[in-house]
């Protein structure tokens, strides 16, 4: 050992580290490549031998099956790609609504773990331990069972003021009739958000420059509401609402959330909120004790300390694990298939059975989730960089 000469670089001998590394890499790449080739070659041979058709051309064929709920207009004669699109939209719908609700609930519970009130602390702790230690699939199945078991039969809905209906067919509620005015109101809403954002950025700059505190919450909300109202007025102030009305086995008009959607949503939100609460708790706990002490010695009230001192610092710790919780929620939404919600996995398995294109359909599922995962990661990484400590 003592007499071993130092390894020489760039030497075509077995003793050269660089050479060994090169050989090792070549062997590994060759092995992986060979494995993939072997599997692909088998698959092709199997398919060829029994005349199994393959390829993505089926995406242009008419799908031929209905989908229970859809946000975009879809008809059974539409091609397969559109059926997949309906599935993707359904997946995204439950994932996005779920992420928003789980974030709100999770943050509240995470902060609740630091409450001065022992009961609140205890309840939050019990919530986290209970919901994160039971498989999410069981939670989904349970919620769905509770919905379909306890709600009244389809023909005898509970009605509230004749406009809200609740039954095994789901929750129905009125929506505005689509018209030009609704469009301008939505445009006003979008403009309001942009305006509020700009105002808030300006107010923050003013605050940093002059120390004058301006309303950072009430004013932006007022801007958004006012702008939406103006948009609504500009569009002629339409007041027509589409009110759901029981008609045989279905509801005419209005909009509704099916028990499948509600079951998936509730299951995912309650499960993920428990994890988000833990992420938030860990983030808050990571802020040095001295910060809190400094804030209280400056005379900052407790809720200001939380909002202005602790949360902004905790956020930097929270964002990376929060991202992976968002990704988990999106991926877990694939379990919707177990309770009959037509998400992308459900559409893909139907397509798989109708066309026999198993490889293609499962590839589509994987590609959809890979794309959402990677784009969420990119988005959250961008936000993470923005909120990272700016060294001066």
């Amino acid at each position: 050992m003592a007499h071993r000469s130092p390894p020489k670089k760039r030497d075509w001998s077995w003793r050269s580290q660089a050479f060994r590394g090169l050989v090792f890499q070549l062997v590994m790449v060759a092995l992986v490549g060979f494995g993939l080739w072997y599997l692909a070659q088998n698959t092709l041979a199997n398919m060829h031998a029994r005349g199994i058709k393959s390829g993505f051309d089926f995406l242009l064929q008419p799908a031929g099956f209905d989908i229970g709920e859809s946000l975009i207009s879809y008809d059974a004669l539409d091609p397969y790609w559109k059926a997949f699109l309906v599935g993707i939209v359904n997946t995204l719908r439950v994932a996005i609504v779920g992420i928003v609700l789980a974030t709100v609930l999770g943050t509240l519970i995470g902060i609740g773990r630091f409450s001065r009130n022992a009961i609140v602390r205890g309840v939050c702790y019990a919530y986290v331990e209970f919901f994160r230690n039971i498989p999410v699939l069981i939670q989904l199945l349970m919620w769905y069972l509770i919905f379909t078991d306890l709600l009244p039969p389809i023909l005898e809905p509970i009605s509230l003021a004749g406009v809200f209906h609740l039954s095994k067919a789901g929750a129905s509620f009125p929506v505005p009739v689509w018209s030009f005015g609704v469009g301008t109101a939505l445009a006003g809403l979008a403009a309001g958000v942009v305006l509020a954002w700009t105002y808030r950025a300006w107010a923050m700059r003013r605050f940093e420059a002059t120390g004058k505190v301006r309303s950072l919450i009430a004013a932006p909300i007022a801007i958004v509401i006012a702008s939406m109202f103006v948009g609504w007025l500009v569009g002629g102030a339409p007041t027509a609402w589409s009110v759901p009305r029981p008609e045989g086995f279905s509801m005419e008009g209005g909009a509704s959330a099916t028990p499948e959607f509600l079951g998936v949503l509730l299951g995912l939100v309650l499960y993920t909120a428990a994890f988000i609460a833990e992420v938030v708790r860990a983030g808050i706990a990571s802020v040095a004790r001295g910060q809190v002490e400094a804030a209280s010695s400056l005379g900052l009230p407790r809720n200001f300390t939380m909002r202005l001192v602790i949360l902004p610092q905790a956020l930097r710790v929270i964002i990376p694990p929060l991202t992976s919780q968002y990704l988990n929620l999106t991926k877990n939404s694939s379990l919707a298939v177990a309770i009959g919600y037509p998400d992308v996995v459900s559409v893909a398995t139907t397509g798989l059975n109708n066309t026999g294109r198993a490889v293609e359909c499962i590839t589509i599922i994987m590609a959809v989730f890979l794309t959402t995962s990677l784009s969420t990661s990119v988005l959250m990484n961008w936000y993470n960089r923005r909120s990272a400590i700016k060294e001066r």
Partner: protein
């Protein structure tokens, strides 16, 4: 004008900060918000708890009597369904008279897992024990050598859950170390392969991996050569778990200061010696809680194999109740039962994880 001395009124004695009354005040009625929360919570409890107790205990039916359950439906829980079906829920479709076998096998496996969790047993013989117990488990479950054969499609219930979770973590562990080392390797091809593997697996849901293992994989192999579906699913979960575990292990590796590696190299240790003797022992000690969390996650995720028709705990429960019209209405009770089983396992593991986390950080906090 003569100044008149007005003494300020004496302050009251400070509130007691000790004793039960003071604790209650500080914890429940510190300010009006806290008081409001306390009152609201107590009111909620007073409203919900009696109804819950009445449903779960007072009016519940505990004996396996479907008619009594039917009569109490809507008012009381039917725990009789558990009394009637627990063997089916726990053991699935495993032949009734042979059920001592999965019982022994599961106890053996759980015992070994528990032993492996205790630090003073982390000796070489533990590895040998694992190498002995894994074949013993398959022998007990599958038969042969004196025991009657039980095909894998009859395996089910808790033994299957425990088996899938334990074996996938045990097999994923070495793989994940290799992948984690590969991801930090200076060899670009190796690094790319490892990054690709980890990101690909972490980007897709487990269910698609299971579909792949269950429906597609037979197509990738020559006709008639594909392994048993249980084995395929086990491999699928293992590959899935390994990607997540690799990230945990990589976190541990990153926590080892570079100076350690430099010191080892300057002592003349080779790459594999450095990793085996210096880096991994330190890194793995840090990541034990992370591994435990992965184990909990995988334990819960095994419930997904019911979607590809393996009847583990979740699947066995729905099979048991769906196949019997008399008991089908009491699925909620069945779900509560298996939820409690999962909870018991996962909660115990998370307690252990916390405990070991504190043990590991003892050195840091001295």
């Amino acid at each position: 004008m003569a100044a008149v001395f007005h003494p300020i009124a004496p302050r009251p004695a400070p509130a007691r900060t000790r004793g039960p009354m003071a604790r209650i005040r500080a914890n429940l009625f510190a300010d009006w918000m806290s008081t409001l929360a306390t009152v609201a919570m107590l009111a909620l409890a007073a409203w919900v708890l009696p109804a819950l107790i009445e449903w779960a205990i007072v009016k519940a039916v505990f004996r396996p009597d479907a008619n009594a359950c039917q009569a109490a439906r809507g008012e009381g829980a039917c725990w009789g369904v558990i009394a009637e079906k627990w063997r089916f829920i726990i053991f699935g479709r495993y032949p009734f008279e042979q059920q001592w076998r999965p019982e022994v096998a599961t106890v053996l496996l759980l015992g070994l897992v528990t032993v492996s969790c205790i630090r003073s047993f982390w000796k070489p013989w533990l590895g040998i024990l694992w190498a002995a117990v894994i074949p013993a488990f398959f022998w007990l479950m599958g038969g042969g050598f004196g025991l009657s054969r039980v095909p894998t499609d009859l395996w089910g219930g808790l033994p299957l859950t425990v088996m899938l979770a334990t074996f996938s973590i045990v097999f994923a562990f070495p793989l994940s170390i290799l992948v984690a080392l590969g991801r930090r390797s200076s060899l670009p091809a190796i690094r790319t392969l490892c990054v690709f593997y980890v990101e690909l697996i972490r980007g897709v849901p487990l269910i698609s991996v299971l579909f792949m293992a269950s429906f597609l994989f037979p197509l990738f192999l020559p006709v008639g050569q594909s392994p048993d579906v249980l084995l395929r699913v086990l491999v699928g979960i293992t590959l899935f778990a390994a990607a997540y575990l690799a990230e945990t292990v990589r976190g541990g590796l990153q926590a080892i200061p570079n100076g350690q590696v430099e010191a080892a190299r300057s002592l003349g240790l080779t790459y594999s010696q450095t990793q085996r003797k210096i880096v991994l022992p330190q890194a793995l000690a840090i990541v034990v809680p992370g591994i435990m969390n992965s184990f909990i996650a995988i334990f819960k995720d095994t419930s997904l194999v019911t979607i590809v028709s393996l009847y583990e705990l979740t699947g066995a429960m729905s099979l048991a109740l769906n196949s019997d019209a008399n008991w089908r209405p009491f699925k909620i009770e069945g779900y509560i039962f298996i939820a409690l089983v999962y909870f018991a396992f996962c909660f115990a593991m998370s307690r252990y994880s916390l405990w070991i986390e504190r043990r590991v950080s003892v050195g840091k906090n001295r």
